[in-house]
């Protein structure tokens, strides 16, 4: 039996070592974590990306696993954290012993604790450029980038760095990494083999990953207050604590006799408390092998302080191949690990590695803001003068929607994303605009010392140094906060919360005064300078033609279509003109977020040039939104358009034109149609947005 046991275990070990731990275990765990995290749903949508969106593809280092998507970059990060060279020194920072908060230590060779290396929250570490802290910096740079290339590069770095951090979480779910158990392999000449043999546990896991037999599911995404808690917290919920206290490793296995098991020196758990041995027939655990005999396993209880569940691992360790010989000579047995103990450990550890990784991804992107329209309804309003214009002020309302965390005082910055048009003016001919594939970005001046509460609060952003052209399509607004997030039991002093709003496209509105023509029996008459006799067309002594009139102050207000039209105070208008004489008009461009809205024009001081009669005027129309954007469908950019196109009006061209006209013109269809092509051209005067100061 003794020889048989030796043969069996040797066979097991030889088979296991046919694999080696490299990319695939981390890649596969990260793939599973990414897919179960919020990244694939809400985060990408807020960033106006989808699962197919590609980022900085020219910078991809591992094209075998990284297709340039957000998930691809996280997966690449989880692989490249082990370094690019064959003897990369950064891996010495991949160990963390939660019992003494120490990193790798082997004689004079020391490594930073992986939690410090991964988070850099006590401070920057030389050689580390892809920590959680670095990721946050990259993310802020992406959110406030002024070019698409810069945004893509920083988003890619963000995702890659997050991937590198979750690599460390996954390592912390490997007992050798939390029990200071070296497993470098014997290939680095400088180490003279002092850094431990190749890890059979990792090799076995990697073999399963390569052949699709490693299980990743079964543990829900973890949610803990602080990033550090994912490794180690005060109550044992960290993944490093779980793997450290519930598992042995090749170099930190049990010692002592089977009837009085003792823990490995320096690692008080697992120990003999609650341990049970079980002897199984080889054919039971490895059916079909050409061997007979038994194997003895040591099982121990385990506890999960995060789920508050306890269980029993029946195969924590085994008697080694030497145990029988040692016992025969009255010596203490030795204990070993094999593929069956690895299977038991992997079933408990890999789903947790995935759940903790997914949880940390969720934690990184947990800060959220909601963006709503301002009181004035329009986000952006700008004059359109001589065929040009730009938005310099963004008005929004914002509130913090981060789960279980309030913002402290920090920096808030807004970005407006849009696409330029290369073929035609998108305000006039949206379907022919030819939107650029690469979006452009305008970045506001930062607002300092701002906190964002749970109720919507107005914020005004100054884009005077980075104005947004009005002749654009595919507009969206992004607002980002960087500063403290305060939980009930913790403070994250440097966090990011962000939100986005896909608003509709800029719409050009012309409004003016066309009272220089009046209508009589379906015919238009120029009334400028007309005498009383000329106004009495049928010679009945009654005036048949009216106008023109002069407006002192003319206003347009956009508001939700559900709000009843009514007279409004001029200082609540969207846009104001100093007034119009006949054949004068003004133009503005506005951005809002409703499918339909009400456009009201108001003149409070109207005087008839001929009679001196005074009047006031209010009118309104329901206007449909403008859609003119590129949408990714199946990896392709598709142009989606639903918007008004321009038509001629008295020498001008605009998709929306509302003019004050004489009543007879308004009442007669032929005159209403005809006034657009009367001889006298409209003259543009300049107005201004209200409330942009």
């Amino acid at each position: 039996m003794r020889h048989l046991t030796l043969l069996l275990v040797s066979s097991v070990i030889a088979l296991e070592s046919s694999y080696a731990y490299d990319l695939d275990t981390h890649w596969r765990m990260s793939l599973a974590a990414t897919e179960s995290s919020s990244l694939m749903t809400s985060v990408l949508a807020t960033l106006q990306l989808d699962k197919s969106s590609k980022l900085a593809v020219d910078s991809i280092a591992r094209p075998q696993i990284n297709d340039g998507t957000a998930a691809g970059w996280i997966e690449e990060g989880s692989v490249v954290e082990d370094g690019d060279s064959d003897c990369d020194s950064r891996v010495r920072n991949h160990f963390y012993n939660p019992l003494d908060n120490a990193g790798y230590s082997r004689g004079a060779i020391q490594g930073a604790p992986s939690v410090d290396w991964g988070l850099e929250d006590p401070g920057s570490i030389n050689g580390q450029e892809n920590s959680y802290s670095d990721a946050r910096g990259y993310f802020w740079s992406a959110l406030t980038a002024e070019t698409d290339a810069e945004r893509q590069r920083n988003l890619a770095l963000t995702f890659r760095s997050v991937g590198q951090v979750i690599h460390l979480i996954q390592d912390a779910a490997q007992p050798q990494h939390t029990r200071n158990d070296s497993h470098a392999g014997l290939t680095c000449p400088l180490t003279l083999g002092l850094l431990g043999p190749k890890s059979l546990y990792e090799a076995y896991a990697d073999g399963l990953a390569k052949t699709g037999h490693l299980g990743y599911a079964g543990y829900a995404n973890v949610s803990l207050p602080r990033p550090r808690d994912y490794w180690d917290d005060e109550v044992g919920r960290g993944i490093a604590e779980f793997s450290n206290r519930n598992f042995v490793s090749a170099g930190t296995n049990f010692v002592g006799p089977p009837y009085n098991l003792e823990p490995a020196p320096g690692f008080p758990s697992p120990n003999g408390v609650g341990a049970r041995t079980s002897t199984v027939d080889v054919q039971t655990v490895m059916p079909g092998v050409n061997l007979n005999g038994t194997m003895t396993f040591i099982g121990t209880p385990y506890d999960d302080a995060y789920t508050m569940e306890a269980g029993f691992n029946p195969r924590t360790s085994t008697y080694s191949v030497f145990s029988a010989d040692l016992a025969a000579h009255g010596l203490l047995p030795r204990y070993a690990l094999n593929r069956l103990t690895f299977d038991a450990a992997l079933a408990l550890l890999v789903p947790r590695a995935v759940g903790y990784s997914a949880g940390l991804i969720d934690h990184f992107f947990r800060g959220t803001l909601e963006i709503a329209p301002p009181d004035r309804f329009t986000y952006l309003v700008a004059p359109y003068q001589d065929g040009n214009g730009s938005f310099t002020k963004l008005k929004v309302k914002v509130r913090n929607t981060t789960p279980a965390a309030e913002t402290g005082t920090g920096t808030v910055q807004a970005v407006v994303r849009y696409r330029r048009a290369s073929l035609a003016d998108p305000l006039l001919y949206p379907a022919a605009a030819g939107l650029d594939a690469d979006p452009s970005y305008a970045v506001s001046k930062p607002l300092e010392n701002v906190s964002i509460g749970r109720e919507l609060q107005p914020l005004d952003f100054d884009f005077s140094e980075s104005p947004i052209p009005v002749k654009v399509g595919d507009v969206s607004v992004i607002v980002s906060f960087r500063g403290p997030l305060l939980g009930t039991s913790f403070t994250d002093n440097d966090a990011i919360a962000f939100g986005a709003k896909d608003v509709f496209e800029p719409q050009l509105v012309d409004f003016g005064n066309s009272t220089d023509y009046d209508c009589y029996q379906g015919a238009l008459f120029d009334v400028v300078g007309a005498t009383a006799a000329q106004r009495d067309i049928n010679r009945d002594g009654q005036r048949d033609l009216f106008g023109p009139v002069t407006e002192t102050g003319a206003y347009v207000k956009l508001q939700p279509s559900a709000t009843p039209a009514d007279w409004f105070a001029p200082d609540t208008a969207s846009f104001a003109s100093p007034g119009f004489r006949y054949a004068e008009f003004a133009r503005f461009v506005a951005v809002q977020d409703q499918p339909q809205y009400l456009l009201m024009t108001e003149s409070l001081n109207i005087v008839d040039d001929f009679s001196g009669e005074f009047s006031q005027h209010l009118t309104w129309f329901t206007i449909g939104r403008s859609i003119n954007r590129l949408v990714e469908k199946d990896g392709q950019l598709v142009h989606e358009v639903s918007a008004y196109s321009a038509g001629p009006y008295r020498g001008t061209s605009s998709p929306l034109h509302t003019d004050l006209v004489n009543y007879n013109v308004y009442a007669n269809q032929a005159c209403r149609n005809g006034i657009a092509s009367v001889a006298r051209p409209m003259h543009e005067i300049f107005g201004s947005p209200v409330g942009n100061d």
Partner: protein, 193 residues
């Protein structure tokens, strides 16, 4: 004497790793697992993957040499012998060569040697063997997942990329970014056999 013994045990695969590697020729046959018929056009990638040990732990980072070929009408494939190739300073071949077998519609096979070896002359455990491929049965999502794995298992090789790309006809809607990426890699002039 005890010290000498200790050092002698530690050094072999470190200092005494061979400075050069050679490879014996590899040949095998691929058949359909159900019909027993040879499969023509199976892409076979041979990857002499290096293991590099860092401070604390190690892993496979890159290949010493990679090549690919196709099975012929009899389902047979072969790689010629090569060598010598200099061993990089901080890496060794352990279970190499690795063989990856893939054909559209079939489950892939990943075949490495059964045990670590420090030998200077490398041979595949699978040479002169008959390898069975099974038809893939599963959902589109499972197939895409399997294709991701195939792509990950070796250095980029044009024939392998083209064979994966053929499946975009059926599965592109599930993972457009992945298939775009594969096509980009397949047409990338930087990729050479």
């Amino acid at each position: 004497m005890r010290l000498f013994l200790l050092l002698a045990m530690m050094l072999p695969s470190c200092v005494f790793a061979p400075p050069f590697y050679w490879s014996e020729a590899i040949h095998a046959r691929v058949i359909d697992a159900e019909t027993g018929q040879p499969i023509e056009g199976v892409v076979v990638v041979a990857d002499w993957k290096l293991y590099g040990g860092g401070i604390g732990h190690g892993g496979h980072h890159r290949a010493l040499f990679v090549e690919e070929t196709l099975t012929d009408a009899n389902g047979e494939f072969a790689f010629g012998k090569w060598g010598p190739r200099r061993r990089p300073a901080y890496a060794v071949l352990d279970t190499a060569p690795w063989l990856l077998l893939f054909k559209r519609g079939y489950q892939h096979r990943f075949l490495s040697n059964a045990a670590d070896s420090n030998a200077a002359v490398r041979r595949s455990d699978w040479t002169a063997s008959t390898v069975q491929l099974q038809r893939f049965v599963g959902t589109g999502a499972e197939r895409v997942d399997a294709l991701r794995t195939v792509l990950s298992l070796s250095e980029l090789q044009p024939r392998l990329l083209n064979e994966i790309d053929k499946e975009s006809e059926f599965y592109r809607r599930i993972a457009p970014a992945f298939f775009d990426h594969v096509r980009h890699l397949a047409t990338d002039s930087e990729v050479h056999p």
